[in-house]
Structure formats: C-alpha cells, structure tokens
Symmetry: C2
Subunit: 127 residues, 2 copies
C-alpha cells in the first residue's frame, strides 16, 4: 500500500501573551482577516496565504516563539514510519497528529489531510 504526503501549513507558535499582537501582525502582513474557532481559541488561521499553503498563529505554553511546519498525509502512521526511518524522532502524539523533530531538532507535525484539493493535485506518493 502506498501513501501520500505534502507540505500543507506554516505555523507561527508564540507565547499566549503575544498571541493577539502576533496574529494582528500576520493578518496585516498577508492582508487577510484570520479565522478563529470557538473550540480552538489557540489558533488564528489564514487560509492559503499562497495557494495550497495555510498559515496559522498558534498560542503555546512555550516562552520561546518559533515556526513549525505541518505535513499532511492520507496515512499518519505510514508517514511517521517513513520519516522516522529517514532520521526523524517522534516526540508526542495528539488526537490525530504526531509531533516529531528532524535530525537537527527542528519540530514539525504529521497531520491528516487538511486541504483535499491541493492534496489530490500535489501530494507525493511513497511506495
């Protein structure tokens, strides 16, 4: 069984105390009003800042801001196995996604398909 994956999102992670002003800045930077969801107040979502790429500003419990990327896939387990086989390390499991780090310590997430159209068109197949 082959599965597929692609880069789907860039997330700015900031301390909760900086969330509002960071979200306001990126809203202006991309010229989009961010979407918020009552159930997930920690995210401000900018859809497709360029086609196929979502941008989010996330409030975290960490004091140090950072950027991380999300890789979307139609098989999270297979994609995590592929990437750990390439040298990534799994850090945490959440509901439907896995937090991992690359060999240098850069954090990224493996998530379920977020953008069906872009995924159908542009995901890479792995055998």
């Amino acid at each position: 069984m082959s599965h597929r994956s692609r880069l789907t999102a860039v997330l700015v992670d900031v301390p909760a105390s900086d969330h509002e002003r960071a979200a306001a800045f990126w809203s202006g930077a991309f010229g989009q009003k961010g979407k918020t969801y009552e159930k997930f107040p920690e995210y401000v979502v900018f859809e497709e800042v360029t086609p196929g790429i979502e941008f989010m500003v996330q409030a975290t419990g960490d004091a140090t801001p950072r950027i991380h990327i999300d890789i979307e896939t139609d098989d999270v387990e297979a994609e995590v196995a592929r990437l750990t086989g390439l040298g990534a390390a799994e850090l945490e499991r959440h509901h439907s996604w896995v937090v991992a780090r690359d060999p240098a310590g850069v954090v990224f997430c493996v998530v379920t398909v977020q953008n069906k159209e872009a995924f159908a068109q542009h995901a890479t197949s792995w055998d």
Copy 2:
C-alpha cells in the same frame, strides 16, 4: 506606487555540524535531491516542494535550529516599511534582503522576487 509581496520560501536553519544530515533528511522527506551552489555552500535548495513554495536547509552560525520564512517582493524597501509599520522590527541588512522579526520575536526575511511565475500569479498588491 503600489508594490506586491508573497510567501515564497520555508527555510530550516541548522548549525553547520548538522547541515548534511538535516539536508539528507529533508531530501528524503520531500523526495527531491536538493540543489547546491558552489558559491553558496550553506544552502541546500528544494524547489517547489509544493507549487510556489521553495524549501531550503541552511547552515548557520547559530547553535539553535529554527525555521524561518521568506517573503518575496518587487520593492524590498516598501515592503519592509509596510511590515515595520505593522509592528515588525528590522534586525539586519544583507546584499538584497532584510532580516526582521515579528512582534513575538519570530524571524523572517524580506527578499527580492525569487519565483517570477508564482509572484506574477499570486502576489498581493499593497497601496
């Protein structure tokens, strides 16, 4: 005069000691052989990991790995002025690009147009 800008690249910045294995990992992750340039050995470049977005693994002098993004524009001065007006702070100037940080401290760069086709199609105009 209006100018334009768009998100063009995601860069993984790692210490030089981790450059080779981080580049090898992301090469496998995206299924692309990275390009290298004799004049710029600090970059391994993966072109359009998804259409319109370039991905690079850069060796830096910093011990702490991170991800930063590049915003391409047809007027670097005007774009930096726009973004600092929104709350960014300018950090450094290089040849043709400017390093800045958002209000939470997240570093990004403002660069000249890197991807003419995607820029022509997808850049946002600012008045």
